[in-house]
């Protein structure tokens, strides 16, 4: 089958574009080299929907951030992914900080960020409930439209709506080559050849590698992606109420500082740093240097963070563009019909659906006929069992008794939910795939107790053998052999 549009990469950018394009009479394919969506930058970041005062006025970043933030607010309700509009504070403590905050306020207003306010006294800040901030802090930019989100759930939700409405999702599909043949493209993948009239490159840290494939001998015309690694702490829910807004530090020439925020699941997230020296495109590792930086920097805004309550460290890779401080979103000048969405670093997550609208505009601009589908069916994420009322819980158990069996005790995730995750529109087939959908293993014991149980459930329900059960990436076996000489 020949597609109208092939999207490369099922992170938040590619999934959002697929979602928007699925609303039109188009044949769309979404190609992802990993075994699930949201597997790279989308799954490891601050999980913040920024208000949009940060990007310079007039940039694509500024426009798409402000638009995306309001779209995500609406979609969270419509599609039922975890999202909480808790607002953000950029906190400052001296004259210099005050000036920068005032400038951010002006910039935010120009960018169209709603309801921004500068809080000029400690009392105004404390009145918002922030009583645990460093005693020096006396000035803040308050952005009530900022929010927190479950990034992988949002991405999954967009991708599954796309699939539900006709987009073909190909997982474990690595793009090896792209050739323009006549007016369309031939994409060689690990799953065979895919043909398409247009290609949208949403390959994140690999966007330059993908672009070079189609540029062939003109590869030097490609932009360059510089991976930047950022490390985080994720603390126990006991610490989740330390702050009630996303707390940013005042950005300086030295960097943006680190943020402290609640997560949608009630944990406390602290980070990131930004390291381009120890970053590669695929390897996300934690270093003691970065972790020390995050600890020592974060306590400048919230001194009482108890790092002894840490339950997980992680690192994310961001795709920054060399010598270019905006998203690069445009049809290639070299190869017509090839559209780049490159350099999607922060606030990329906050743009989400706005990328989809942008893709529609670009396709229209190059003469693609776009007709809206008459019947569009939205699918909603299932509500977590633990968030249901007692009556709803009883009802679920009555329908399927497996909802009465708790598998993940830290997060109260039931067998019913785990089985359901294996049969979703985009089904989970790995321990971490289940985790991203239902939150199992996200808690204090980090899967120590529920891991072996979910391992068994995956084998039983999907009729897989032990060596086909992966922790996360394809091939990342959980166990290596049976005991007692059994095969």
């Amino acid at each position: 089958m020949k597609y109208d549009v092939a999207i490369i990469g099922a992170g938040i950018t590619g999934s959002s574009i697929a979602f928007e394009l699925s609303k039109y009479d188009l044949k769309v394919v979404l190609l992802e080299r990993e075994n699930d969506v949201a597997m790279k930058t989308t799954k490891a970041n601050s999980a913040i929907i920024h208000a949009g005062y940060d990007p310079k006025e007039g940039t694509k970043m500024a426009r798409l951030n402000v638009l995306g933030s309001s779209l995500i607010h609406d979609y969270a309700e419509k599609l039922n992914f975890h999202y909480k509009q808790i607002g953000s504070l950029v906190v400052g403590r001296n004259e210099k900080d005050h000036e920068i905050i005032d400038k951010l306020f002006e910039r935010g207003n120009k960018n169209g960020v709603p309801n921004l306010k500068v809080l000029k006294t400690r009392k105004e800040i404390e009145d918002l409930g922030e009583t645990n901030l460093h005693e020096d802090i006396d000035y803040a930019l308050y952005a009530p439209s900022a929010a927190i989100v479950s990034p992988w759930e949002m991405c999954l939700s967009f991708a599954e709506n796309a699939v539900k409405n006709g987009v073909a999702l190909k997982l474990n599909c690595k793009v090896n080559d792209i050739t323009k043949v006549g007016d369309s493209f031939e994409i060689e993948t690990s799953l065979g050849k895919v043909e398409s009239d247009y290609v949208i490159n949403a390959a994140g840290t690999h966007a330059d590698d993908i672009y070079k494939l189609v540029l062939k001998e003109k590869a030097d015309k490609s932009f360059t992606i510089v991976p930047s690694r950022g490390e985080y702490y994720l603390l126990d829910k006991d610490e989740g109420n330390l702050v009630h807004h996303v707390i940013f530090q005042t950005p300086t020439e030295m960097g943006k500082g680190v943020l402290v925020s609640q997560t949608v699941h009630g944990n406390l997230i602290v980070g990131p740093d930004a390291d381009i020296n120890n970053a590669t495109k695929d390897c996300v590792h934690n270093t003691s240097k970065s972790m020390a930086y995050v600890r020592s920097t974060s306590v400048l805004s919230v001194p009482s963070i108890s790092f002894g309550s840490n339950i997980r460290n992680f690192a994310g890779i961001r795709a920054t563009l060399k010598e270019y401080d905006d998203f690069l979103i445009e049809e290639s000048n070299e190869v017509k019909g090839f559209i780049n969405f490159a350099g999607i670093k922060s606030p990329g997550l906050s743009c989400g659906p706005a990328f989809g609208l942008e893709a529609v505009e670009i396709l229209k601009g190059i003469g693609v006929q776009l007709n809206k589908k008459k019947d569009y069916e939205y699918v909603r994420r299932p509500t977590f069992f633990k968030d249901l009322s007692d009556d709803e819980k009883l009802e679920m158990i009555k329908k399927d008794s497996r909802y009465g069996q708790v598998i993940c005790r830290c997060e109260t995730v039931t067998e019913g939910e785990i089985i359901h995750a294996m049969h979703e529109i985009i089904p989970a087939r790995t321990l971490d795939g289940i985790k991203r959908r239902v939150n199992s293993g996200m808690g204090r014991c980090q899967g120590g107790f529920c891991g072996p149980k979910i391992f068994e459930l995956l084998m039983e329900e999907l009729h897989l053998s032990y060596d086909q059960i992966y922790q996360d990436r394809e091939g990342s076996q959980v166990v290596v052999c049976r005991t007692k000489g059994e095969n």
Partner: protein, 418 residues
Amino acid sequence: MNFLNVDLLIIGGGPAGLAAAYGAYNAGIRDILIVERDHRLGGILNQCIHNGFGLHRFKEELTGPEYAQRYIDMLKDTSVKVVSDSMVLDLSADRVATIMSSKEGLRKIQGKAVVLAMGCRERSRGAISIPGDRVAGVYTAGAAQKYCNIDGYLVGKRVVILGSGDIGLIMARRMTLEGAKVLADVELMPYSNGLNRNIAQCLNDFDIPLYLSHTVTDIIADEDNKRVKKVVISKVDENRRPIPGSEVEFECDTLLLSVGLIPENELSTKAGVILDKRTRGPLVKDNLETSVEGIFACGNVLQVHDLVDNVSAEGERAGLGAANFINNGEVKGDLVEAVPGEGVSYLCPQLITKEGEYVDLFFRVRTPTSNCKIVAKVGDKVVRSIPKIKVIPSEMESIRIKKADLLDKKVVVQLEAK
């Protein structure tokens, strides 16, 4: 929703919960219900298939499952009821538990008294912020034990173990016997956190080297970022900071973590039970009653034990405490505070009632110490002093004090030179 009343509700059917039921039953309570989240009773003992349990309690050496079976048999033909595959989702201060199971759906059960016996969980990689790649192949020793002893799988074939707690040592032997190669056991402290006998029979028997004063400083993934390929360890200085240049690399596919246990107190907190920052378990009186009237605690949810025999003893005392509460109500009168002094990291119980002749205070020392004495003081007066040839943090100590000697608001227990 169904609402049920029982005299004693016990949350958790592991060694602590079983002993609590036994203790309460012997004290005359008949309407006892144990709620167990797993399919079978016995808790973590079911996967602890090694021997070494029961020397104190039963005067013979049993394996974990055998030890559990003893208590299960002791409760057989009694009126103690058990609901298994049932999770307590919520617990209120008025002792109403919300219990869920596939069979019964949701129920609320109120106990005249409640015993918390939920056990503990293992600290994971995040709790100690191990640097390195984030890939498959890093497990807690307990998870590896479940895979191995219950489900029949090996999580890896070439293994490095971080932490020399007993579960880590036991797993070194288990995985070796099952055909894996255990390359090293790495311990941050200059001494082991496990029992000496386990170092002897789990490491030395198999020539597995123990690296004291070392820690894992890097985890390196294979080329495809799928699985652990190398673990790097470094020597640490006296401040437990890695010393650059001291790195040793191990080619392996697995890192097992045995880096401590944390009481599992989610439910306790929901009921408003106050926790002790030191033990991370409930603050209790010597009848093992928590800060919430009628709610008792025992076993690893109260303080992390190293011997199941002690868990059972504590469970039976909690059962007795709960029985007395059901029969006679709250223990009245002033309380004496038990305060850990020099060299002692915590004391449990933290509060002492006037009831009874004596109190046993349990604790751990901070560092290994030779030729010392454990001293209990009320004001300036030494009320008890026990000479010790050697004390180590991995072995729980106790001191018995006559209540008649507690003539002040607090008693301090400390370690002193001989």
